[in-house]
Every structure is written in structure tokens, then in C-alpha cells.
Amino acid sequence: MTRVLVNGEARELDQPVPAAALRALGLDPGRAGVALALNGTVLPRGQWHTAELHDGDEVEILTAVQGG
């Protein structure tokens, strides 16, 4: 298990990849309209299944909401 922060909450991921972080929130990693930052840097969608996560990593998964 990899222990990371996903949107500010501690999560244990079954796989050390970003896609697992999405699934941990109940989201389909293929879902459109979502972006992901790993430790303060944008991680393009193409790397969501390949980038390696480590314990303590901070993952932010954002989408568009009403605003502005």
C-alpha cells in the first residue's frame, strides 16, 4: 500500500499510480474534465497509469465548478 494525500486527505492506494488515486475517490480515471497535480506539478493524463507514486506524495485532482 502507498500512503499519499489525495485532495488533502490521507489515502492508501492499492497501486502506486495516479489512476489509483482517482479510483480511491470513486472516479473513473478515463473521466473527462479532470486534471491532476503531483507534488505541485501538473501530471498529464498520459502519465496517470505510469507515473510512480511514493509514500507522502501529494496529489490534487481538480475539476471545473461554478465560479468567477
Binding site: G8, L25, A35, I61, A64, V65, Q66, G67, G68
Partner: protein, 269 residues
């Protein structure tokens, strides 16, 4: 032919970064009581561009603001609302580009939470970074003509000065600064923030702004769709009036009925 079509036919197009917008009214999507209310307001507004904010995905959320914008015929304009540093704003813009497939961004870098006024130094820094990174930057700014010009010079596609603080509904507190900004501008100037009612929007256009961006004035009105329609008319009214060559302001009167030909009735006291 509608007034808008007439205006366009006159070669009066509203173009940002090479994209022609049909409406000079840009809508913010924040503040609506529901997505339904938002959709009705967007439709009534006639806008074809609307902002969204980027926030942590909420798995329990139902409905999507993006679907609403699509149904209402609006392009999406992500903003960086809530960011207080150039760094956060740049990252947020990049995430928005990744999520939404657009390199347009409404850049906000806030310097104070009570007024939500921009921090001029961070704003300029972020604008420069984003332009360098290929973004089409529409920069929300205060009404300082010097900062507006510097934002233009670093390559912003549009400069968007406020009339008064976001959501304040206080209208255009310093129309002189707006006039000065407009006179010097070489990119579109969009009045962004502070509009409270239709006459504010009309005034912004009369002052020479190329467009108006507003959210709360519509979404938080008692009847958002009605206010959206009001704003649509107001922006059109202001645009037309601004180009119609208004009469000068005078202290005294100027008769609109002729003096010649007045009757003279006998027996007057």
C-alpha cells in the same frame, strides 16, 4: 436583423486572441442557486463565453457546470480564483488547460481577502509566465492604468479592470481611470467585477470598454434570468450609445422645440 447582428454587420466584431465572440457580455458562472438557474441565466444572457473555477473534484457532485455551459452555447473560460501567488495561479491555469483542453484563462491573483483586489506584483509575474507558456491570458486587474498597460505589454490578450470589488455590486467607482485605460489600450478592455445593475453595464460600454464580465449581479439577483436579459440589453445599449456620438453635457438647457413660429396671443398680461 437583431441589434447584435446589425452591430456585427457594421464590422463591430468583438475579437479576443483571434476568436470572434458574438456577445460582448461574458458571464461568470459563480453564485447561482442551482445549475438549472445558471442555465436559464446563461441562455437569457446571450453570452458565448463563461468562466468556471477549478476546485477539488467532489465525487458526490451531481451535474456538471461544463454540461450547462455546453447546452447554453458558452465556451469555457477557466479562472484562477482563490490564488494568492503567481505560483499557484500558474499551476491552476495549467491544470485547467489539462482538464478542459483550453489555453484561455482568466487570471486572478488576489492580494487581500476582504477586497479580493489583485496583488499587482504577483499578477504581473503570473501573466508573464502564462503568456510565455502559450496561454491566452485575460487578466483581471484593478483600475490602475499603469498596471493595465504593463499587463498589455507582457502579452495579455485582454485586460479586465474592475469597476469595484468582486460581488460588491457597487458599479464603477472610478470611471475616469477606466476612460484612461481605454484611451491607451491596444488590446480589448473588459470591465470585470463590480457591476450591480444594468445601468452599470451600459456605462462601462459607453466608457469604451469592449465587453463586460459579470456574475453575481445576475446569479445572485432575485430573478437571475430576468437580470441576465437586462444585462444583455444593457451591454448592447451601451455599445450602441458609445458609438453614436452623444450630445455634450451642459449646465443649462438647450431647447428641443423651435423658438421660431411661436404664436403671440393678444391680451397677455
Amino acid at each position: 436583423m437583431s441589434a447584435t447582428e446589425q452591430a456585427t454587420a457594421r464590422g463591430d466584431a468583438f475579437v479576443i486572441a483571434g476568436v470572434t465572440l458574438r456577445s460582448r457580455l461574458i458571464m461568470g458562472s459563480g453564485g447561482a442557486a442551482s445549475l438549472d438557474a445558471l442555465e436559464q441565466a446563461l441562455r437569457a444572457s446571450g453570452a458565448d463565453l463563461a468562466t468556471v473555477a477549478m476546485r477539488r473534484v467532489d465525487p458526490a457532485a451531481r451535474g456538471s457546470v461544463l454540461d450547462v455551459l455546453e447546452r447554453a452555447g458558452c465556451r469555457v473560460l477557466p479562472n484562477t480564483a482563490g490564488c494568492h501567488t503567481a505560483r499557484d495561479a500558474v499551476l491552476t491555469a495549467r491544470l485547467a488547460r489539462e482538464a478542459l483542453g483550453t489555453d484561455w484563462v482568466k487570471l486572478e491573483v488576489i492580494g487581500d481577502d476582504r477586497t479580493l483586489l489583485p496583488d499587482p506584483v504577483e499578477l504581473l509575474d503570473a501573466a508573464e509566465q502564462l503568456v510565455d507558456d502559450g496561454f491566452t491570458v485575460l487578466a483581471y486587474t484593478n483600475d490602475d492604468p499603469v498596471l493595465a498597460k504593463r499587463l498589455e505589454r507582457v502579452g495579455c490578450a485582454a485586460v479586465m479592470p474592475l469597476g469595484s470589488p468582486i460581488g460588491s455590486g457597487a458599479g464603477i467607482r472610478n470611471p475616469y481611470n477606466l476612460r484612461i485605460i481605454v484611451e491607451a489600450a491596444e488590446v480589448p478592455i473588459v470591465l470585470d467585477a463590480g457591476i450591480g445593475t444594468a445601468s452599470d453595464a451600459a456605462l462601462a460600454m459607453e466608457l469604451g470598454c469592449d465587453g463586460v464580465l459579470l456574475a453575481s449581479a445576475v446569479t445572485r439577483a432575485r430573478d437571475p434570468a430576468r437580470m441576465a436579459l437586462a444585462m444583455r440589453h444593457a451591454v448592447e445599449a451601451g455599445r450602441l450609445a458609445g458609438g453614436a456620438g452623444r450630445i455634450p453635457k451642459r449646465l443649462y438647457a438647450e431647447a428641443s422645440s423651435p423658438f421660431e413660429g411661436m404664436a403671440e396671443y393678444p391680451g397677455a398680461p
